[in-house]
Amino acid sequence: MKIKSLNTNCADDSLLWSRLRTGDEKAFSVLFTKYYEHLVRYGNSFSNHAEKVQDCIQDVFADLWLYKHSLSDNANVKAYLLSSVRKRIARLQERDHIFSKITSTDSIEFLFDFSIEHKLIIDESTADKVNQLNILINFLPSRQKEALYLRYHQGLSVEQIADMLDVNYQSANNLLHRALLNLRKEWNANIPLLLLLSSSIL
């Protein structure tokens, strides 16, 4: 059932998208309202300047309207928007970096930290495990973290993630797979080390 509703969601999106392409301002408003917050959260993962991030997102939407006639007809709306926001922020940081001498232009860093679903945890042993796992996840390289976020929170496919992060399919798959594989190994083996880590952080 849930899967069905997910599909209709996509159908809604592509309907909105095609209406947008013909200049339907209502479709535009609906898409904006639907995705603005997602995009703000994603954008904030790259930058501490909330205002600049919102500015970027609004620019992305403005361009969407201005160039609506040249949009491709079968885009995945969510992936398109996330990717556009990412590119825009990268460009902005690149520009800022020219003046501040930090030259790594290609990579903008995903600084987001996952938190814990405390409300859903009742027993202590689960709480401990989840705590440890959470710390490990947040210690992952930023690209792996971003891949996890896009895959499991935004529901993007591996192809879409590869596209966004500008790597080939296999690398994207590796990013995701490695994140999980390494973590599970560490998680199961290194409980003492983990405890050390967690106590030094907490």
Binding site: S29, R41, D59, I116, E117, L120, V130, R151, Y152
Partner: protein, 370 residues
């Protein structure tokens, strides 16, 4: 065979929306619990996947909808600015471009009387608030005149509205789509920039006024018994909002210059007034702007600016010395304020331009070029 029976990796579970929502919200629409308990290997995987989800929380939605609306309006402004700059470029290429398009499309307009379907039927007295509410998601801007003087509002299409005290107007920051729609409560004098491609619709309580390019006054105070429309130039069409709802297009009333229409709320009837000089109510309510003539024959520019100042209650600053010998012959009656200023600037010469900020207008000029 169910897809999930083939799951062998944590990844499979994490990517399953239904599984995620079961863990997060306990909404077990697909009997995950039962399915898990069928098999102990499976239970182990599920438990681990569950821990992953618990350890990877992202903050919940907490942006207030008003913030999103504000952002939406800001985005339309950006679009407007962008479109304005592209339009300027087009004009540089070909000054007559818009005019020729307009001329062709006048004929196409008659057939495009299609806004009816956008309305939700069954309410004969939809008032301003409800109308606004219905269209709220388009990011309307509301301007209320609480002062005791009329206020000028310039719309994104170059039209201008002189809003009388105790009146309010809601309009989109930028007009997009096939129509220009605004919502009025109270009284306003409208001067609409010509664009046959995009008819201009004023929703004023029970009535809808549709125009292409013209000037007219609408008085629709919710605490008064009548709604009045008086036309100065051009041609307007009026329908009751009720008629719009029932798709009845025949009841449309056309008004020509110096004709007026009164809608009596009590009886829901229309009265067309063909001779406005004989109607006492209308005579007494004529506003400054409707009395002033904008036909100028060899008149000093300073005098023309003075007339505009009186009509629209604005202040115009201009280089008096440089323009002291400039005279113009022009007819501006049918033009909204921005258009009037544009025509004057153009007539004066290439180095003349204007800036408008609220009711402050600044003319920059090196003098007239003749």
């Amino acid at each position: 065979m169910q897809k999930r029976n083939k799951y062998t990796e944590i990844e499979d579970f994490l990517a399953d929306e239904s599984f995620q929502s079961w863990v997060r919200t306990k909404a077990d629409l697909e009997n995950w619990e039962e399915w898990t308990l069928e098999n102990s290997m499976r239970a182990k995987l599920v438990e681990e996947a569950r821990l992953w989800i618990l350890a990877m929380k992202i903050p919940e939605n907490n942006l207030h909808s008003s913030i999103i609306q504000t952002a939406l309006v800001a985005t339309w402004t950006k679009i407007e600015e962008n479109e304005a700059s592209t339009k300027k470029e087009i004009k540089l290429w070909n000054n007559n471009w818009l005019k020729s398009v307009a001329a062709v499309l006048v004929f196409g307009l008659l057939g495009s009387w299609t806004y009816s379907h956008l309305f939700i039927p069954n309410n004969s007295t939809q008032i301003y608030n409800e109308l606004i509410h219905e269209n709220n998601n388009e990011g309307l801007v509301e301007q209320t005149n609480n002062s005791n003087k009329p206020q000028i509002i310039t719309l994104s299409d170059g039209s201008s509205v002189l809003l009388q005290p105790k009146s309010k107007l809601s309009y989109p920051k930028i007009f997009v789509g096939n129509e220009r729609r605004v919502y009025l409560s109270g009284e306003g004098f409208f001067e609409i920039s010509k664009n046959p491609k995009k008819p201009f619709l004023v929703f004023a309580n029970e009535i809808v006024t549709k125009v292409v390019g013209t000037s007219f006054r609408i008085s629709a105070f919710s605490n008064e018994p009548n709604v009045e429309i008086l036309v100065r130039t051009g041609k307007v069409k009026v329908q009751s909002n009720e008629m719009v709802l029932s798709f009845n297009k025949k009841e449309e009333i056309t008004l020509l210059p110096n004709e007026a229409l009164r809608f009596t709320r009590k009886s829901s009837t229309f009265d067309k007034i063909t001779d406005i000089t004989k109607d006492q109510t209308l005579i007494h309510s004529v506003r400054t702007i409707e009395q002033l003539s904008f036909d100028f024959t060899d008149i000093p520019v300073s005098q023309i600016f003075k007339t505009i100042e009186q009509a629209y209650l604005v202040n115009i600053e201009f280089p008096k010395d440089k323009l002291k010998d400039c005279h113009l012959t022009t007819s501006l009656s049918d033009q909204p304020l921005p258009e009037k200023l544009k025509i004057i600037c153009k007539a004066l010469g290439n180095n003349t331009s204007y800036e408008m900020n609220g009711n402050q207008i600044i003319i920059n000029s090196d003098g007239c070029n003749y």
